[in-house]
């Protein structure tokens, strides 16, 4: 698992991504997927909901599958049953996404391998919101261990990296 939790890869994805397609984004405000989608929008990401059962979530048009999304996707963020991940990974490769991100508990080594073989960066069993908040420094405010050990003065907020 640790090969899919590399801190450097996580940082690169969080800092360079602009468009995040959230597969399984729920319209219910109480679901983890909604928390993450709302949070990413607040922090300037373009969030594209992918869910065959919804029409509009977080003010955005919902697409039934990744194939239907009419624009380039930087990160495919998955909140689905692990059994659904291999197919999602194949679609993510097909549409040329930059990374496959599997949320807490979404563990599929098969799906991860498919995405990796297709040239995508892969993160597994990690939360995109938590990792963004870790870099921003806000996660620290809740008493969580960020793992950050540094005495260098940091700029205020996150400085986005130029998109390659």
């Amino acid at each position: 698992m640790s090969e899919y939790q590399d801190r450097g890869t996580i940082q690169e994805i969080v800092l360079s991504a602009r468009t995040v397609a959230i597969v399984g984004l729920s319209a219910s405000e109480l679901r983890a997927s909604h928390f993450v989608g709302y949070y990413l929008q607040r922090h300037g990401y373009r969030v594209i909901p992918v869910n065959p059962n919804e029409e509009r979530v977080l003010g955005e048009q919902v697409y039934p599958s990744l194939r239907e999304v009419p624009e380039p996707i930087d990160v495919v963020d998955v909140f689905r049953d692990p059994a659904a991940v291999p197919d999602i990974a194949r679609e993510a490769v097909e549409v040329g996404a930059g990374a496959l991100w599997l949320q807490f508990g979404v563990i599929s080594h098969e799906g991860a391998q498919i995405a990796q073989d297709g040239g995508l960066k892969v993160v597994m069993d990690r939360c995109l919101k938590v990792e963004h908040a870790r870099l921003l420094g806000r996660m620290h405010w809740m008493g969580f261990d960020t793992g950050v050990i540094a005495a260098a003065r940091k700029p205020v907020g996150i400085v986005p990296q130029p998109k390659h």
Binding site: L30, G137, W141, F144, D145, I149, R153
Partner: protein
């Protein structure tokens, strides 16, 4: 990325974890954010903070940046996902059990426990209809015999106060996980420098940070550290897994995963309990923790010298330091406490209750007070202080003899400490002979 991030050592993390220079001012020390409230950027942000959709500072009864630096440092040193600070160790203990338990639940608790903890658990049991199953932690079958399908937690101290019993953490964790309950360990006496129970399978840590973490007896403080690995959605913890009425039906474990219990403990339990750590106290704890490892090394070394010396003195019936070569806990010390078994231990005077009183009165360097884990060496005689209402029979039942003396060995020159103990022993012996 090409290069793996560096895994920093304990001392480096004790100095730096949880704190970076202030981004606005460059202040190197952690600022004391002495404020009750925090101004919201806008109404949308305010509502996001209240709905837990965004990590933001709201009110110092729930979170505070100075307190957060202490919480993160402790969580980092213990190897946990995070921590929630409380106003005292007992507040942390009450908060955690209040969050975990429902009326009718049972918890298995080591009999060898700090008296204040025992008193609190009895109080909680009475008020909240919790059943306590007391366990002899020295009995290898003790935990297994005590747990039932109703057991919601197992609780013990790494090194028990004042008996010095050492917990077999892996054994207790195995029993806990067989019944789907977390192992909760009070790691106050060991500190994360001497033992990190989460590495041996414990799920939650409680600290009285008043002791070695603060280091010099200035501050009452406590904390809960969570490993983040326990499955609260195993069907046994509705208070963590089921929809929360306080947050429109939010399911803390499902939504926040690894951080579910900690979010619950902060946004519900601490919020409603109000037993919050003050920012200034957190600042003192941060100062103390920077030197934790070097202090603990000296505490451990001084305590061993004192224990070995006491064994050779006449008038001393028994010395209970778990790291002594003939201690029954020596194998557990080797396994769980390779850097030392702390500096709090007890010994028995042959001269009983009166001898204990004379011993204390003859000391001039050891402080006679009810605390442990200070830079100063501390001494207390339970039979004439904390346990003075008990008869000799009742004392025996609580594991304390009339002549038991508890020491917390500090950082003074150890020869000076022995010189003073010699004065005490002479008084204890002398008068005993004439009596």
């Amino acid at each position: 990325m090409d290069e793996a991030p560096r895994e920093f050592g304990f001392n480096t993390r004790a100095v730096h974890a949880g704190q970076r220079p202030d981004p606005y001012t460059g202040a190197s020390a952690t600022p004391i954010y002495q404020t009750a409230g925090f101004v919201f950027e806008d109404t949308e942000s305010a509502s996001a903070y209240f709905n837990l959709q965004e990590y933001g500072n709201v009110y110092s009864r729930i979170m505070n940046p100075t307190v957060a630096a202490f919480e993160e440092r402790l969580a980092n040193l213990e190897g946990g996902a995070g921590a929630v600070a409380f106003a005292s160790g007992l507040a942390a203990q009450a908060g955690l059990f209040f969050a975990l338990l429902e009326p009718g639940d049972r918890i298995a608790v080591a009999k060898a426990l700090y008296g204040g903890s025992t008193a609190q658990l009895n109080h909680l049991a009475r008020k909240l209809q919790i059943t306590l199953d007391w366990v002899d932690m020295d009995d290898p079958d003790g935990w297994r015999r005590a747990v039932t399908t109703e057991t919601k937690a197992l609780f013990a101290e790494t090194i028990a106060n004042p008996g010095g019993n050492v917990l077999d953490i892996e054994l207790a964790a195995a029993v806990a996980h067989e019944v789907g309950a977390p192992l909760v360990v009070d790691n106050t006496f060991a500190t994360p420098y001497l033992c990190r129970p989460l590495e041996f399978g414990a799920d939650l840590i409680i600290h009285s940070a008043t002791k070695f973490l603060a280091g010099n007896g200035t501050t009452i403080a406590g904390a809960v550290v969570d490993s983040g690995t326990f499955d609260w959605s195993n069907g046994r913890f509705p208070s963590i897994a089921d929809p929360s009425a306080a947050y429109h039906g939010l399911k803390f474990h499902e939504t926040f995963g690894v951080y579910g219990l900690l979010m619950k403990l902060r946004s519900e339990t601490l919020r409603d309990f109000g037993a919050v750590l003050a920012p200034f106290n957190a600042f003192l704890l941060l100062l103390g923790m920077e030197s934790l490892a070097v202090r603990m090394d000296r505490h451990v070394a001084n305590a061993l010298v004192v224990a070995e010396w006491l064994r050779k003195q006449s008038g001393v019936a028994a010395v209970r330091h778990p790291a002594l070569p003939d201690s029954p806990y020596r194998p557990l010390v080797d396994r769980y406490l390779p850097l030392g078994a702390g500096s709090v231990f007890s010994f028995d005077l042959e001269s009983g209750r009166d001898g204990g009183r004379r011993f204390i009165e003859a000391l001039s360097l050891w402080s006679h007070l009810a605390n442990v884990g200070d830079t100063k060496s501390l001494v207390i005689h339970p039979a004439s202080t904390t346990h003075r209402q008990l008869s000799d029979e009742e004392l025996a039942a609580s594991g304390v003899a009339p002549g038991t003396v508890r020491l917390s060995v500090g950082l003074e020159d150890v020869d000076d400490l022995l010189w003073d103990l010699e004065q005490g022993l002479r008084a204890a012996r002398g008068a005993a002979v004439t009596a």
